[in-house]
Symmetry: C3
């Protein structure tokens, strides 16, 4: 079933508007193309409403936010909501600065997201700060492990239910929940943490997966997480003597480019709780 | 003859000022170095006049325009015109938003460009909107094919003549016209569309080719288009099992790096109409 | 001894705040990860103080400066100074525009840097313009060669002493001085100049080396310069038929990723004057 999600992306070729950081933006664009989507970037407040109107989804990533791009995020997000487009938040660095935390929380409170993707400390920050997630018990560790998995799953479900969106919490073990059930995903490799932007890239393709699979959002989000992790595994298998994180980064995008539905279906490692 | 154009770039090492988008800027810089040029990036209005003054050409790309960089484009463009420098416009996304269309049209109306490079829908948007191209018949299809080639060539010539600059319209078939004659170029591969920024990269090297070949501008622009397409062909021939769009992107820049005049001369596929 | 410096980076995993240009920012992030550090990027004035507070060092690079990011540089730099964090300046393009020269000079005058890294013409611009370096004899050639090495070393020492920081002047021959002694380094390859951003990358890892080796700053800065040059040599040895500057760029980052202390110790080519 997860395999169909990437097939649908390749068929639909969803146009995804990205308001994202300038660190990893090129990789986000290339991995969106690799998975079968089509990227467009625009963060100027005067420009974003027109651009998001012609797209199917909007990926908001606060990685190198500034006052101008923050205004762009709100204007684009409101337009996307009006039009019923897919809307995803990647709260990069929420918790690390007042501006990031405040912006992420305000985005959660003023916009209706289909999905939020971040690491557990970013999602905890949202849980503690946002009015929409009031009452979420965020007393969970800062890394999801086999030992604390049960409480992490409970946290993911609780957050997703109260926020009214899919929560994708990524790390050594990934959790994707819609509030009712939770995919526990064990794809990926630790070395992916030595590349800048694998999280940003995942948020990009997750938006495309959601646009192309509107009736199966939980599955689509889980498929994107599995695809990214599986790409990390397949790319590692192609590493050659002397290769490092730069070759790895390129090979991961290539693995997404070459991934078909069957490969994803067979390679996805998950259980549903 | 086209082969000489890249030789001249390698001899002249033209310094090219780029006001370009943050998505593909690194690739634009590296491909400019690969072809023998030297890139410098600056978009702050207070900075651009000084920077463009020490360069030979200015490449204006509106891919991720904002109010500040738009001001930079006009200030730099006016200075480049004053100094008689090569000036190129890449109207990324003209037609997709009011700000992009309006900015591109205003740039055309207030500045004197040596060349404009875009896809046919972007160039049609300019044809319809700009006072300098009034009366251009833009009733041409949105993709140049063998079937509609004759009318597309007529459109390219008409646009170039009325705009008073070289029109480089790129796609499956590329057209480069100065208003009198038109190069019809059949280099390249469809897979280049799966990489972000091959168009931006072409605009970068085209600026360098124009600076280094000031007396043969039509030929220089056509040579840049052939070089980029040929690089796409040569890079594809080097693709290995498991490679995807990320490896392809890197191999294209490398193909430009290794391209000499003879390779370009022999590999260029064009006719002049 | 230099080999220990990279070992210490891998052990300490220093978090480095970068206010840097959007051309090479992705490479700076990936090479910081490759050497064992951890990068974070932020240039919004409202954000930078919080971000720099959680880091160990701040790398200020003026490559695509704008009025907003300039304000961010001063605010972040003052906070870094208050906290006693490592602070490095990369004055990209100082001398090429009034804004760049003025900004770099003002940064030197208002902040206390641990190190400044640039090419000789950039450092000469600082020597001539900054109050903190008054009286430095900048009558030195614009390229360091074996012929003018003695006067270049004298200039590096004089600049470092008067500026009260480490001066890292990079080019065909690299000089790293603390005002008392000067490392003369002969690692690297000319082809590194055909890649955009090897200087920016060096500034990034030098900041990490300084954070991880706070008691041996001169050695740490010299080790970073040797590591970058050695990576250029090792990467070149891995170049394959058809590779160009794009493959080279990736292989250099990979060489840093795979470099251990012994490799650096044995491969570093330097004398101390």
């Amino acid at each position: 079933m997860l395999g169909n999600c990437i097939k649908n992306v390749r068929t639909a070729v969803p146009l995804v508007h990205n308001i994202t950081n300038y660190v990893t933006v090129n990789d986000v664009a290339n991995i969106l193309l690799a998975c079968g989507g089509s990227p467009i970037m625009s963060d100027e407040p005067e420009d974003v409403e027109d651009i998001t109107s012609i797209c199917g989804g909007l990926n908001i990533n606060i990685g190198t936010l500034n006052q101008r791009s923050i205004e762009g995020m709100f204007r684009a997000g409101k337009k996307a909501n009006e039009l019923g487009h897919i809307l995803l938040l990647d709260p990069v660095g929420a918790g690390a600065s007042a501006l990031r935390t405040g912006t992420a929380v305000k985005l959660m409170d003023e916009l209706k997201f289909d999905a939020v993707r971040g690491n557990i400390s970013e999602i905890k920050t949202l849980a503690l700060g946002s009015g929409t997630t009031q009452g979420v018990d965020a007393d969970v560790a800062d890394a999801v492990t086999e030992e604390n998995l049960e409480e992490a799953v409970a946290f993911a479900k609780d957050f997703a239910k109260k926020a009214g969106c899919i929560a994708a919490i990524t790390g050594a073990i990934d959790l994707v929940s819609d509030g009712e059930s939770c995919y526990v995903i064990r794809n990926g490799r630790a070395e992916m943490g030595k590349i800048t932007g694998t999280g940003c890239q995942l948020s990009g393709i997750m938006t495309a997966f959601l646009v192309a699979n509107p009736k199966e959002k939980l599955q689509a989000a889980a498929a994107a997480v599995c695809a990214m992790g599986l790409a990390g595994e397949l790319a590692w298998a192609r590493m050659q003597d002397g290769d490092g994180n730069s070759a790895y980064r390129s090979r991961i995008i290539d693995a997404i480019y070459n991934m078909d539905g069957d490969t994803l279906e067979k390679g996805a490692k998950y259980e549903v709780r």
